[in-house]
Symmetry: C2
Subunit: 413 residues, 2 copies
């Protein structure tokens, strides 16, 4: 049984294709989401269906997999069952927990209503609605202060998502909407990126952080490093320096916490709510429960494994091998994370790339970023619509937009 | 002032481009919707952004037009003002009412929750959610009756929308989803089309109605003519013959009523809530208020003008001419509706077409249907995304998905 149809869960299911096992994959959504491009949906560059694909369709031809739409609310390790939100229980021999993470507000959950984060299609559509609506509010407003607040956008968190969101909003204002309004000039919009430490893109080399900050500045984004947000309300944010930014739109990209399902497996979670795992990615104390991706506090060669998509994919591949080893009576292999390099995009023709000691920024990094992401998307079969247009869709009977985007439960249908 | 950015309102705004007037176009949505293809969104064939485009962007280069996002709740003809939902008042010299129609339930408004209609992007997404979820419910169900009800789809109303929806759902079941499930066979789904009179597509020649019914039958749709729905609840529909169909999914395509704004202009509305207008399309008794499209009870050469998109476009063109005539001190021209022919599609390679005495059905009609609709869409500049892929979108800075799909108000932002 696999819980979660993200990068890790899907990879585990695929890698078990030829194994003599029955796989049940449970997800509360009907679609796999290509999260690295989610910020494009949030900023109106892509449709949800461009980056999401029905899990059922991805695993259609793999006969030993059954896909269930349902929300797992608890795991009973003693009986080997998961409990669904509708009360159903489903038993398992091996369990792979790959339910990912949600954004976290460091104990200030009331900030969420004012500063949505970006993890799901609904999140992305909500952010898109807020960003586009802000310009409409500014156009209709007669009060200069209200207008200024409507045209101010604060992004909290300078990781890849925060940098991408800030860059994309600046582009919307300066290019996409530039000539669409009569009373306001969208190019006067202010985009502020707030980061708690001394540089953005901390996971990258300091040299690249500097390049990224320069590229953001070129796009018109004001970057405030060494700045912590101490309050968020409907009208703006309070910063630790005692300053306040009046802003109608505040977006949250400052932290994530593992799925609360982690608690049903371990009492000893780390700060990000992740489950400690052994060298084979099994939860400590539960040999038949593997935890991968953003839910796992894993190490590889003594280093922490980062919460990125490639680590989830590698984790999925590894647990499939570990399960095969169990079936064959062989010892489980040890998980080794291979860092294949990192990329982050900032805007048009602006990105940074780091592959071991090789580091570069600018147009080349940006082209590489797109090439890799389009190639990966094609791997998930969802890119055909965008690349070849709907003719292809008709010829093959595929439908690109098969998403159920409202929260789904068997009761509400 | 123009209220409504549909086919009629948009055409009126465009035709006033070179006139010495200031045009304000108010719509409660930020996008124009190409309604003839909305059933494709409801049946997961297209993304919302494929058939919707920001009104602001369409009218970007027309300097005498201002676009306002707002909901008009009342018209005060005596003072020449419209009242918005946020309490604002906006004055006008000439008013063009083009706010369209919603689906109507003949006094049974409680049916709406069980049988959604199809007029907006939200409607389409709700129908898509219900149709796709029904198959998921069937897959999870262990009760044969519940499973059968989940796989039964009832479409009420045999006009073009009803025929299109029924045909598309049948195709989803028999082709798109055919191999995606493990416990159910989607091809066993039943699609029932219920029509009150003796044939579907009443606006067409009886010969074409017969062809359409044959094409529907070929797709596996059961057509029940001369059948009236007397009750709709969460579990199915009751028919006048005393029979009942247990169906989890019921869709409504059986009737429309004009926007309630009609009431603020006239006390003498027709059965469909439409405003009686004179030969120049001015509301009776209000020379400076024009009513066009689905809101108007208009006649041309003694015949009723049908509630179709071409009639709305022609109405928009006409009122622009009438306003120019007023400005020049000339008498207003008389509105003449020109029927350019009718097309309805049923499914893959299945459609009917009628141009005067020329009537045909099948593949040729279907090709023509698509060619015309794609050509019209390109006219509204929204098809580029689908036709040329996102490369185009990047090169031109256009963003295909600029929609605010939740109900918008200045308060909620």
């Amino acid at each position: 049984m696999i819980v979660g149809g993200g990068f890790g869960g899907l990879e585990a299911a695929k890698r078990l294709a030829s194994a003599p096992v029955q796989v049940t994959l449970i997800d509360r959504r009907n679609h796999h989401l290509f999260q690295p491009l989610l910020y494009q949906v949030a900023t109106a560059g892509l449709n949800p269906a461009d980056i999401a694909y029905p899990i059922r369709a991805i695993l259609r031809s793999q006969r030993n997999v059954e896909v269930l739409l349902g929300e797992v609310v608890d795991v009973d390790v003693s009986t080997g069952e998961v409990l669904l939100s509708d009360g159903a229980r489903v038993g398992f021999d091996h369990l792979v927990l790959a339910a990912g993470a949600r954004h976290a507000y460091f104990g200030n959950d009331d900030w969420e209503q004012h500063a949505p984060g970006l993890k799901t299609v609904e999140d992305a559509l909500e952010i898109r609605r807020r960003v586009l609506s802000a310009f409409e509010v500014a156009e209709r407003s007669h009060d200069p202060d209200e207008r200024r607040a409507a045209l101010t956008f604060v992004v909290v968190g300078g990781g890849p998502t925060g940098v991408e969101l800030a860059g994309a909003i600046a582009e919307i204002a300066t290019h996409t909407l530039a000539r669409d309004f009569r009373r306001i000039d969208p190019t006067t919009a202010e985009v502020v990126l707030v980061e708690g430490v001394d540089r953005v893109l901390q996971a990258f080399h300091p040299e690249l952080s500097e390049r990224a900050q320069q590229q953001l500045a070129d796009l018109g984004v004001e970057v405030r490093t060494d700045t912590t947000v101490i309050g968020v309300d409907a009208a703006g944010v309070d910063l630790d320096a005692g300053t306040r930014i009046e802003a109608r739109t505040v977006l949250w990209a400052a932290g994530v916490a593992a799925s609360p399902l982690a608690r049903s497996i371990s009492d000893d979670l780390d700060d990000a709510g992740r489950v400690p795992v052994d060298a084979s990615l099994a939860a400590l104390g539960h040999d038949n429960v593997f935890v991968i991706g953003d839910m796992a506090a894993a190490t590889s060669n003594g280093d922490d494994v980062p919460g990125v998509a490639p680590a989830a994919v590698q984790g999925g591949r590894h647990v499939a091998e570990a399960i095969r080893a169990d079936l064959d009576g062989r010892p489980r292999p040890t998980f080794r994370y291979r860092d294949k390099g990192s990329l982050a995009t900032i805007g048009r023709a602006a990105a940074v790339a780091q592959f071991g000691r090789l580091r570069f920024a600018g147009f080349l990094a940006w082209v590489l970023w797109w090439a890799i992401h389009i190639a990966l998307l094609i791997g998930f079969r969802s890119r055909a619509m965008v690349l070849f247009g709907w003719g292809w869709s008709w010829l093959t009977f595929k439908r690109g937009a098969r998403l159920i985007t409202s929260r789904w439960s068997p009761e509400t249908g």
